[in-house]
């Protein structure tokens, strides 16, 4: 079975590491980390990804702008995007979904929740 790749865009090193830990439990999934939206775009320019997970609140370029940029890029317009939000920030979530995000996960993140969502979007058994 082919390798799958995932880009994690999260400015908090703690949250990034937690996401990487959770995703490491999915076989054949290769994870690339990006520190913010701009770093995320840089990584996207360097390769193709099967899935993108991004936080909303980030410095330099936030998750909403990143989602918009990804969807306007022909090379990545169909890549599923999971956004990470807090339960209370429904507006951000709605805006992200309207901009083209595929799904969302609420904080505090739980590894089983992340794994289930990623598997669902990548159609992994």
């Amino acid at each position: 079975m082919a390798e799958l790749s995932c880009l994690v865009v999260e400015d908090s090193p703690m949250m990034r590491q937690l996401l990487v830990f959770a995703l490491a439990r999915i076989k054949r999934l290769h994870v690339t980390e990006a520190e913010d939206g701009v770093d995320g775009l840089r990584k996207l320019a360097q390769g193709k990804y099967d899935l993108i997970i991004t936080d909303i609140n980030m410095p330099i370029m936030d998750g909403l702008k990143l989602v918009k940029r990804i969807r306007s890029d022909e090379a990545h317009k169909d890549v599923p995007i999971i956004i990470i939000t807090t339960e209370g920030s429904q507006e951000d979530r709605q805006r992200a979904m309207a901009l083209g995000a595929t799904a969302y996960i609420t904080k505090p993140i739980q590894a089983p929740q992340v794994i289930a969502k990623v598997k669902e979007l990548l159609s992994i058994e």
């Binding site: 703690m14 959770a22 904080k107 505090p108 089983p112």
Partner: protein, 284 residues
Amino acid sequence: MSDEDEPRDGGRRASDVPMDLLKEREAFVRSFLKKGVEYTELLLRENRELREELDEVRNENARLRSQVASDDAIRDLLRTVERLEAERRALLDRSKQLERFEAEHEHRQAQIEQEMNDLANLYVASFQLHGSLSVRRVVRHLQDMVGQLVGADAFVIYVIDDAAGRIVPIAHEHVEPSEVRALELGEGPVGEACMTGLRRLRELDVHRVDRSDPVAVIPLLADGKPVGAVEIVRLLEQKSGWASVDHELFELLAAHAGAALIAANLYEQAGGPLGALRHLTSKL
């Protein structure tokens, strides 16, 4: 006429028998023969009837034999049904047992998943706290730990300013700046925690916001002495109470956050790694 025709006893010859008597004898013989025929017919009829009865008895016998055989078959079938029923019950019991086992397995798996998740949280929090020697980054990690791992929506982080004898806020999230101020040692729940080093957790009504009774105050300790505190003002909406991992995270916060802040501060004051190692040998 021959001698044979002559009756020896001097009796009469047949031709000498009167006609009436002959007729009577003939009638008798006929009657006798007729009765013989009738009797024979009767015997034949009775024989036929007996044969018929015998046939009936034979048929009945065959029917009864067949019924007995059929009863045996039914008894065999009933025994088979009983055996199959017992097998079915055993299979159902086994199936229920397997269902229970599967449910227990799923429950255990969920528990293990949760424990792995909790351990990952603790490991990452500890790794990040001690993996940085920049005060800003340590404070940022502290904020992430309280906000993202514990699930606090609004909180303030304080340290004790020994020179001023006060407790000063160094970071806060979702608390109005006007409501974030320095405190006296012993003032309010935060001041008390900074004096006593004792943790304060509200177990019930966790979504009530009351600065005079915060949902949690976690003292930050170094070498067993309080050096600051985290005041959790409000929890995230989806958080309904404290999970076991929260208590572990509070232990980690209390035991490691203060030390991480001190280490980062001293490191920066020393101007880098080599400066921070200066005079180390004289202390061994």
